[in-house]
Symmetry: C2
């Protein structure tokens, strides 16, 4: 009897297992994207035609061809309809909140001192920072950016907005030696930065950090403190480096060093450091930055719009350095998407080197994705479509007239696409843009608030 019962139970169990494996033979996931050309941007830069990406929670759990559809099921299946599936793009340098000032007083000589600083002193408030960052982050999301590196005043309010939009943000509190709207007293912005880092250090989407403005606009004492604090908290430092001839000459005069050498002498150059611009750098500066594993934010559009020059970022990329792309603030570069930057970067380095083969489209896409991840020292979990990485994925539609035909997807992205071709954006496993619409914030309401604010800005601007 006992053994008979055992046998029956065993048979029954086998039957149940058999049935459930028939019904539920597929592994369950959260999101499947199918039917697109996958630019993995992995080590081999594999391209998968008719590719499939499988996402579970906030991770990529499988990348391959259509065979994966037999293995996985998901509630949400996104048909890419022959579009391009790529890693989320990384904007390695911006000041998103400055979107409130976009198209104001472009091309004015000595704009920073004559216009931007006075304007900021009068206009910047936590509300403005929040409003501008929400608008800017939404624009980035709609343009396929999934991670942004920001530096601004009241950065905690920018972080709040970026979280709301659902982007990943490396958010650094601006520190500068002049009185600012968020710090009238000496040391106040550094204190603000510390409080911000403390508050956000364990956030899933926000990586807080320190944003010393530039080598010549921050005191040596504060730079040394920032170096210590970034070590203590193990958080990033983002900084304008070698951006202007004024800065170069000032540092040369005061310290008999190049800006890069000066920062290194303070111990700032390391695997937590993200240097934006890097126009006025010598060959030995480049070697030093390479040795120190510094992240490079290459802001081509902003740099040529202000006639500052072309950073030798291609040379740095070819040396295996950590080069990503950045838009700079929307008062400098005017747009916040990385697709536009890729086009400029690919063409400008050709002009600069007088070589039409320099910086082919693939290299521009590298800078926009895995290069950006390396620039922010996050290549282990961002920048490519690979199993185990965080699920930051972008789908570019290829139905629009400008995207046809496609003989080379890299070329289509770099030479033909614009931000409006971005169809779907997933950050940390969550769809934040779908059918070209943002799902997380009310954009119309935001634009309305922005335009209300415009009147106030205009009044102040007229007095400058």
């Amino acid at each position: 009897m006992k053994s008979y019962l055992k046998g029956a139970l065993l048979l029954g169990s086998l039957f149940i297992v058999g049935c459930s494996s028939l019904v539920e033979k597929k592994e369950s996931a959260n999101i499947i994207i199918k039917n697109g050309t996958v630019l993995t941007m992995n080590e081999k830069r594999d391209i998968i035609e008719n590719g499939v990406i499988v996402i579970k929670n906030n991770k990529i759990i499988s990348v391959g061809n259509e065979d994966l559809l037999k293995r996985y099921s998901a509630k949400k299946v996104i048909d890419a309809e022959d579009g391009i599936i790529m890693p989320g793009m990384i904007n390695t340098h911006t000041h998103a909140s400055m979107s409130v000032f976009r198209s104001l007083a472009d091309d004015v000589p000595d704009r920073l001192n004559r216009y931007i600083f006075p304007l900021e002193n009068k206009m910047v408030s936590p509300e403005m920072v929040y409003l501008g960052a929400r608008h800017g982050a939404a624009e980035m999301a709609l343009g396929g950016v999934t991670t942004m590196v920001d530096m601004y005043l009241f950065e905690e309010d920018a972080a709040r907005a970026v979280k709301e939009v659902g982007l990943r943000g490396v958010m650094t509190q601006n520190i500068i030696k002049y009185p600012t709207a968020d710090g009238q007293q000496k040391g106040e912005t550094l204190e603000r930065a510390i409080a911000f880092v403390e508050k956000y250090k364990n956030d899933e989407l926000i990586t807080p950090g320190f944003g010393p403005h530039a080598p010549h606009t921050v005191t040596k004492e504060e730079l040394l403190k920032i170096k210590e604090l970034s070590e203590k908290y193990n958080v990033p430092v983002s900084m304008h480096v070698a951006e202007t001839d004024v800065e170069f000459d000032r540092i040369k005069k005061d310290f008999k060093m190049t800006p890069v050498e000066y920062l290194d002498s303070l111990g700032l150059l390391n695997e937590r450091f993200i240097a934006a611009h890097n126009i006025f750098v010598t060959d030995s500066d480049i070697e030093l930055m390479k040795k120190r594993e510094v992240g490079i934010a290459h802001n081509m559009v902003a740099n040529i719009k202000s006639a500052k020059g072309i950073s030798p970022a291609l040379k740095m990329h070819d040396k295996g350095m950590r080069v990503g792309l950045g838009t700079d603030g929307p008062m400098s570069g005017n747009t916040l998407d990385i697709i536009g930057q890729m086009g400029y970067v690919a063409k400008l380095h050709k002009l600069d080197t007088k070589d039409r083969s320099a910086l082919p489209p693939k290299k521009a896409v590298e800078m926009a994705t895995i290069g950006g991840a390396r620039a922010i020292h996050r290549e282990n979990d961002l920048g490519s479509l690979e199993v185990g990485k965080l699920a930051d994925v972008v789908l570019i539609e290829t139905k629009s007239v400008n995207m046809n035909p496609i003989f080379d997807p890299y070329s289509a992205l770099v030479y033909s696409a614009n931000a409006s071709n971005v169809d779907t954006v997933i950050v940390n496993g969550k769809v934040i843009v779908e059918n070209k619409k943002i799902k997380t914030v009310d954009l119309e309401k935001n634009s309305k608030e922005l335009n209300n604010f415009k009147g106030k800005v205009q009044k102040i601007a007229e007095t400058l």
Copy 2:
């Protein structure tokens, strides 16, 4: 009795006239565009806030503020919803049919001889030219281009497509000294050009013309014939001029003149001539082109993508010359809209002159509109929103995230906009794009045909 009857008739008539003037006190028009910021691009560059444009048949009959709404009525009233209303943009140089080859073999050294010519010899047919031009013209329309200057093989088939899309086209039949798909025998393409000019010379939208390829790729004999024929028919000549160092050296060697001097020695430089590229020009070449009233097609994107250099087009513009913008073909510049070009032109001339104030946005919009009209010698009826001009009008929406806020509409257009912000396009009084959709051709069908063609192109390309 007689006089009583007369009196009654008179009273009756007055009554009828009175009534009709009560009911119909507004003048009737075909299209009214209201509620936008009008960039007139007239002599004074007037900007009208809350502006109104009134169109009757194919002409602009009134331009002003909202008071015009009391004076005019129209069946079609377009609410610009605070958008930017501007003259249709003019693409002064392209090869629209080459859209079939877009993103193929970008950045290959000596691409023209090694890739493009052999490919064209094997692939170009009237069907391909028609298909590619239809796609390209649709892309231009969707990007706010209302007039295009084209040069290609089987140009009659391109003209057919452009007419179907509803664009205005200056269409020039390519003439070159090598055997081509549309002319195996010597003199055949010139004969083709004459037949095309004869057929289209009275067309409302198409202005046919001659398209000698370049100074060094057409025989002196044919250039002299073209000069005579363009005079005889009073039609334009569009030509690549001073585009490459190879061309410059060749002409210098053979004729001891610069390309510009050489063309002038043949009598070609005059008010019918449109010169594309103009990179390798001397100061005296520039003076000569100015004196001869030559139209200048400035193709910044294509010129830097191929690392050829920056044409001194800003200098030419500042001398009051006839400078417009061009995309070049979609195998060279990859996109066909002029909005993208404006951004590149504004920024590249700043970099080139090391002056951030060089080429402010207004100047870029000038080149894209009235400058383009002057480049094609059509400033009397195109290029600005003025009473009596042809009704080629574009509405740019300002609701999208990248277009907010707007302190300066020129800046928004040049530094922030992309082709996807174009909402409505009117050519010759006819709405051809509305709500960002093209109304004249089936774009999906066209893209499908284009992608069918892609397979054939790929096979041939592999053998090159």
